[in-house]
Symmetry: D2
Subunit: 383 residues, 4 copies
Amino acid sequence: MSNDTKPSTYAVDARDDVLGRARVIDNDELLSFYKELEAHSANAFWRRANEIEPWEPETRYSPTIWRYKEMRPLVVKSSELVKPEEAGRRVIVLVNDSDPGRQNSAAVGWLFSGLQIMLPGEITPAHRHTASAQRFIMEGGGAYTVVDGHQIELGQYDYVLTPGKCWHDHGVFDHGQVSIWQDGLDIPLMNSLETNFYEVYPENIQKPAFTTNDLPLVYGNAGLLPNTGQTWDKPYSPMMIYRWKETQDALFNLAKCEPGSPYDGQIVKFSNPLTGGWAMQTMGAQMQMLAPGQHCKAHRHTGNVMYNCAGGEGYSVIGGKRFDWQEHDIFCVPSWVWHEHVNLSSSEQAFLFTFNDFPVMQALGVFIEEALQTNNGHQALKP
Amino acid sequence: MSNDTKPSTYAVDARDDVLGRARVIDNDELLSFYKELEAHSANAFWRRANEIEPWEPETRYSPTIWRYKEMRPLVVKSSELVKPEEAGRRVIVLVNDSDPGRQNSAAVGWLFSGLQIMLPGEITPAHRHTASAQRFIMEGGGAYTVVDGHQIELGQYDYVLTPGKCWHDHGVFDHGQVSIWQDGLDIPLMNSLETNFYEVYPENIQKPAFTTNDLPLVYGNAGLLPNTGQTWDKPYSPMMIYRWKETQDALFNLAKCEPGSPYDGQIVKFSNPLTGGWAMQTMGAQMQMLAPGQHCKAHRHTGNVMYNCAGGEGYSVIGGKRFDWQEHDIFCVPSWVWHEHVNLSSSEQAFLFTFNDFPVMQALGVFIEEALQTNNGHQALKP
Amino acid sequence: MSNDTKPSTYAVDARDDVLGRARVIDNDELLSFYKELEAHSANAFWRRANEIEPWEPETRYSPTIWRYKEMRPLVVKSSELVKPEEAGRRVIVLVNDSDPGRQNSAAVGWLFSGLQIMLPGEITPAHRHTASAQRFIMEGGGAYTVVDGHQIELGQYDYVLTPGKCWHDHGVFDHGQVSIWQDGLDIPLMNSLETNFYEVYPENIQKPAFTTNDLPLVYGNAGLLPNTGQTWDKPYSPMMIYRWKETQDALFNLAKCEPGSPYDGQIVKFSNPLTGGWAMQTMGAQMQMLAPGQHCKAHRHTGNVMYNCAGGEGYSVIGGKRFDWQEHDIFCVPSWVWHEHVNLSSSEQAFLFTFNDFPVMQALGVFIEEALQTNNGHQALKP
Amino acid sequence: MSNDTKPSTYAVDARDDVLGRARVIDNDELLSFYKELEAHSANAFWRRANEIEPWEPETRYSPTIWRYKEMRPLVVKSSELVKPEEAGRRVIVLVNDSDPGRQNSAAVGWLFSGLQIMLPGEITPAHRHTASAQRFIMEGGGAYTVVDGHQIELGQYDYVLTPGKCWHDHGVFDHGQVSIWQDGLDIPLMNSLETNFYEVYPENIQKPAFTTNDLPLVYGNAGLLPNTGQTWDKPYSPMMIYRWKETQDALFNLAKCEPGSPYDGQIVKFSNPLTGGWAMQTMGAQMQMLAPGQHCKAHRHTGNVMYNCAGGEGYSVIGGKRFDWQEHDIFCVPSWVWHEHVNLSSSEQAFLFTFNDFPVMQALGVFIEEALQTNNGHQALKP
């Protein structure tokens, strides 16, 4: 198979006819030379240079929205059709409406996401993997997770970690309610890096080895770290869960003191209190609050983001297209696509939970951001 | 003046008669040689070697206690005798009962401490210095500090920072109450390092430039850092104040989860949420809680500690001597002196606020700690 | 297009019939449910779970060798067929003999590599990109590169950086010789991350703005950093070039002192003297030396490696297959594939230059390594 | 003893009669109050405030010079009068010509320094201490040190480390020559911090456990770190010695590329190749080179510096006073004292080795520097 029969997946630009870009005109001698190269596991750089060195990133992923009123019945139906112990995890995967999305089960970019439903009394078998996971609780009560023996109770709009390589299982207590949460994992990244390992736990579930909620109790006190002999040398936040009330309070506190970001309104990042960095190495998460009537400005950046509306209603313009959202709706913004957010209510705040792959971009030195300069910072809507 | 007329301030030990220690026997020729050296700004190492290289540190400071029932009347009296604008700051200095303490106004080691009283309507003129300061509020209400334009309200048992080089002033609002707090500064360290600079502010006081309490509102949310465009590149905690309720809650949370330190009971350090380190570069602070009836074990370490009882009653054995304390009493533990704490109440917790120079010891690689191995970890009381 | 028509690219294992893995048996109701999901940009996790969560990584790349005796004539021929200013850069790309290799022009994993030839008097136009580049000089003399205005002369077996976002151009002086080097770039990574930007310089080439070789002269002195006012805040090594003589000397020095690695013999990493880390954020490079007759043991690790023999002759067993190599031959080891190296000479050392994506694996916490435990650490050769 | 009978050691300034400084006028009531305070281990802050919070540092140390032509005979004489095994170490201590210098055996500030002489065949018994040491070899050959089992050979103008807590001993081989070196230790700092511990080794000397010079061989290759399995987790440079030839070459390299510092000419710091920081935590060292005829500008900074002329001749103006120096002369610059250096030769470079306590100042955030703005940056000479 010839290298050049594969259609280009990157943009080729009229600007390419300049010094510093490839602009070789093929002839018979060259075409013959190319065949010789291909026979030696080689190719001529200039044949693909402009494609593999684009002027700027052009994402292969599409802005996609998953409306909860459509997704919830499907998620509930899954709980009637399969058992978690047969499914591994009973998750409905959110698949980006693009070729690479379908290929690697990505919601957008390096991010996998799904909706998981657990019924009272159900458990998911314990296991671990190199991929990191996080959950954002959308509905229910009486759910829990156990991470490396630490049991943590989950409430609505809590954000909880399952860092890579940790044993974990989860479930809903018998007295609990039907619970639905959004999972976020870096599975596409781990597979692309060819670093994904998986193990099942020797027992069906872990026996909790500590006081329930010990990690957030011990490490979740603002500016107050335990000094009773603990050493935490793991590369992720020891808090493990960030609760909705504290998160919402933090946003209200911010709003008392400052105008907020022009692109995101008031926004806090879930951070590791031992380092000030993101809570995990490969995925970050944030919660943002738009003031009543707020219309943010547009910007774009490298890195991918999944949004989940945690209250309120509004819309986002992504790549020039409007996506309306309300509570529980989920949507994505791919790399280097313009986006801006609007709160449609004139009286209520709107909340957007997000998770992203920014820690990867930052660790590798390629987080790049740009504000829209034209039209007072707002995109023109595409027809 | 001969070098050797100065009495040694370090211990000389019978163990010195071994290979590896100085044990030169003086004779006339040597004495003559020493005079020659002194005439050339020199000395023979072996004359002072065992003194300047002791087997272990022998502190020049004494364990000292300042009982509040004695100190409070003196502090109140100071408010009748001088005005803060005449005194610079109206502070009663706690002076270690030792020669170096009196010489450099140290409470213990590198730590300066004093009791400051402010009456309603009083202010202290704005100024700044290389030395860092911190305050622990003991009595009162309606007090505030302004640090680099950020105004912060002070409540009982709050711990508040005034990092080195920041402009600061403080006062009590007209409607407030008589307020007394403990100051802690690294003045002895800054003077010994010959790095202390001082400036008075162009105005009497700073005009607050931000929402009151903005720094703790913005940075004091557990694991939730603002991401609206702030960058904090200063070498100290942006939280600036740690409030008593949150501190006490953190200790109760810890107590639910773990046994605590054998030496300190439950203990939290006031930390910088951006780094996980101490809140300032040269002084640290902690709050500890002893369970009813708890008798901690003895240990010793390099570094100096000032204690302030924030509730309860008990005693500490320091260097084999018992010091009884109750609320507001202040005492110190010098470097490398054995100490253990006891809560005398069988029903109530006891709380000890401490500040220390551990950040210095740790930054320079000389924080060294040892547990008492004998007598089940308890000191014998000296007669 | 249905999600499940795409053939799996990951291994599915007989071990999957256990609790903790997906093992749902499809039926008509489920198949109908799957169609409904696909219509909503969704899928059932358990349909792809075992595939996207493999037990361990199974690389999509093949061990490949590019023998210089075959590649050199092709490289020389390229210099007769195209001009560098038409080609952008006149590079023969080394393409992994696998489907993803051909698709993204990767030599292995995230690594792009090619052979570039420059004739005396030729230049390559100045440009920059987010992707980082490095060069290993294989033949020639009188070549140079200019990186952000710093001109650096290139000698045989020198290793030189072109970090991402730096302006760069290169050429051979009129009095120089035909020069051939191996390029290594992280183009596949940058494209997968959707972060690749490209710009051409306003002029054809940069005018050198500093003393020739100033960066290695100023920063390339072991343990001796300039303190004349420089601040280097860039995330890559200021040395910029690592010369062959110093590299070889370092290996000889190591050999005097210690036995070396069981897998790599004596090996040094090209590091940033300001941090002790890799010279760049996304790619690392090393030089290793095998003693005469040395037969190293086998190990495997995540991350990808390109090898270039810088002297001597031997072979490597990669994934159970033997690859013989001699000077200038290039080969690759993909992620998690067993490999071991052998020096076939009984009198001469063998040298292997390598570059890798380990900095990515380490920054993301997924560098995992394993030694072969069976057969005294040696692989069985596959027929 | 009353607190106020101690004469102030800090400056009191006429500028003190301003708001923000202490300016209480004593009266009988106050004097009586002061006595009451003193009886309670207390004092009034305003009595000492201006003294302990000076406007700027005023050093207690004097610029001092130790001329080698005077010191060398004394050092040689010490070798005739005592044996190293009796003296512990046979060192002539350089004592600052000031009260605190004599009191704590400091050469300047926190720095101890001495001249040590070793005759062929002599050894110094093995020991260790919390204090860190460093040596600068002035004369001789065939000397060595053993640090934690690593034997290192010492040549003229080499700079060698003995970090705190490391076992060490040293000597001169039987075939070697009389050797003299300058010792630099942080003994005054360790004693002031009350953290100094001392131990003698179980044997007279350590038996070398590694290849001679293994640490500089393994870690002293510019930008080339070993990757054969070593982990170096100690807080000091693994290079351990910095050799004169490499140091001199580095300065010549710098001189080819840039103008150098206006205050120090060409200057390199001895650094830890794993961190880019100083080689040890509490003391730093540098080598500087003044071009023929160079007259540097004046600056001042916190921190203390010891100079040792490693070639050439010139003078320094320190605090307005001229100090002429030639090879082997040693002098000091105390904290916050203006200083500038002049090379008196019109044809030869002058070299100044220095060691300092800058790492302490920087770790604690109090390294402060100022350029002289008047008189074109040159001090007026005091009569």
